[in-house]
Amino acid sequence: MSIRLLVLIPVAAAISLALSAGVDAVALPLFLDTTGTILATALAGPGVGIATGVVTSAVNSLRNPTFWPFVAVQVIVALYAWLAARAGLFRSFKTAVPAGFGLGVLAALTSTPISYLVFGCTTTGGIALTTALGRALGLPPLGACFFGSFVADFGDKAVTFALVTSVLHGLPRRTAARFPWALRAIGAA
């Protein structure tokens, strides 16, 4: 791994941490805690993306320990983003947003068993309330847990994919060319 890619890991992890805190400024019900993982994968491939996801979860756990069990979700996100980058799905919003919706479903499927078995579906207030809504709608416990995770992840991952697409297109070509996957991710190589 080159020095540039090594440096990208903490920078991307810090981007996730800063954005998940900064999203409060616009009062949107989003996490954006996988932005750095998706961005690092789109720029530098799955190894850097997975490392970024693991570091993000580890450092986030120092703030809120409930993040650590969800490290598996970060790994899945990195692998999915790699496939999306290989397919050039970051070339426009038209391809990135549906891909983000797909990741939302996958992330919900991955996080549901963790949330159900470890926390009884009570990871955050919002998810617990949507899970309670699912129970009130007559869903079984695991189904209600998936419903809560799905509501949280579906829009969040689509917005994250769109945001990463904007960043990749906003990077100067010369800067993007320094990262091995950036041009392929936007369909320019």
């Binding site: 020095i3 540039r4 810090a14 954005l19 961005l39 580890a58 120092l62 809120n64 009884g120 309670a132």
Partner: protein, 237 residues
Amino acid sequence: MTRLHPFTLLAIAGALPALAWILPAPVGGLATAVVALALTLTPGASPGSTNTVTAVSPGSRPGLVVFRTALLTAAPFWLFLLLLHDLPTTIAIGLRVTTMVASFVWVVGALPPPRLVEAMVAAGWSASVAYVFAATLAAAPVLRARARRIADAQRCRGLSARGGLAHRLRALWALALPLILSALHEVDERALALETRRLVPGARRTSLSPPPDRGAERLARWGLVAACAAALGWRLR
């Protein structure tokens, strides 16, 4: 407690939640939760070194602040568990979550990250691994502060975070894009700084002041691993 080797502190913080989930509920969870909460009251669990504690009132006892932080972090889980489950399930899961929260809050208070990095370097971990962990801890508050500055600057230019969803998403873009692009432009500078210090991937460094790692502590760490394995074997029997 702070005199213990960082790996010992991490082993305790990892073993308690593991035992809480392995041992039968609610007795196992209760025992581990009591131990974890007792640890938050030990000297050395300092709010000054923890990120989870945001405010310390004058005259408060540091140990109690860490204890209170653990309780306040765990409390919402109990509330939501009670909303979603019956009482026995709430107690079983709640005690496990309380153990996990209290263990992490304690270890964050008792273990300054630079000391952990020193221990990792002294133990022969690659300097790259230690760098990634330390650099993330250093970069996160810098980028958070920059995000606040960008938000303030955009507000001065008339950006409003009120209104409909589309309006808020536009506001998010105006905040996030400058932050991410500026961070990415720093990658080359940081890489150059590391290269001039000969920190290439795979390089090994020597620690300036490695934390002492006594034989008894190493034995205790293996003992914790053995205890978790034995408990798991007993439950699966």
